[in-house]
Symmetry: C2
Subunit: 93 residues, 2 copies
């Protein structure tokens, strides 16, 4: 599992379509589709239901989405905190 896969998952969950999420991420559909499949494979469970209209979150996907957002937010916070501390600002982690 990589941060890239997690970002891809969040984009697909929010857009409901692989194609639309791909445009948002400046990526083509196939790699993005592979990110999701690889994530599902690694977790051992499907996260989306495939419909002719696109991708709909399954309960496992909803659960993962909550954590995924927290992970990405934490990464962001880490970056900002380190830059702040390195610049001499007090640590607000």
């Amino acid at each position: 599992m990589s941060l890239t896969h997690i970002q891809s998952f969040v984009a697909v969950a929010e857009e409901g379509h692989v194609g639309r999420a791909a445009r948002r991420l400046h990526l083509s559909q196939p790699p993005l589709s592979r990110h999701i499949l690889s994530l599902e494979d690694e977790l051992g469970a499907p996260l989306f239901e495939r419909t002719p209209r696109g991708m709909r979150l399954l309960p496992a996907g909803e659960a993962f989405l909550t954590h995924a957002r927290r992970i990405l937010a934490e990464v962001d916070a880490a970056v900002h905190t380190v830059r702040g501390v390195a610049a001499g600002r007090p640590d607000d982690s």
Copy 2:
């Protein structure tokens, strides 16, 4: 930044040596050293002070360590939650 880099950082922070952390991660020194350098490059600030005895955390590194542990714990929680939900257990995220 990747989860691998973050795991590498935590191992080096905890061991205080690249070489020892590399053994713990079943990796050789050079890739591990590169993970740290690449992290520092991406964050725009050094995280460790290099001493003849090994690596000592700088304040920016201490700040990053807190977040890094939180990120890895959150990833772990995500995996367990998804597996639980997929197995029909209620979501305790």
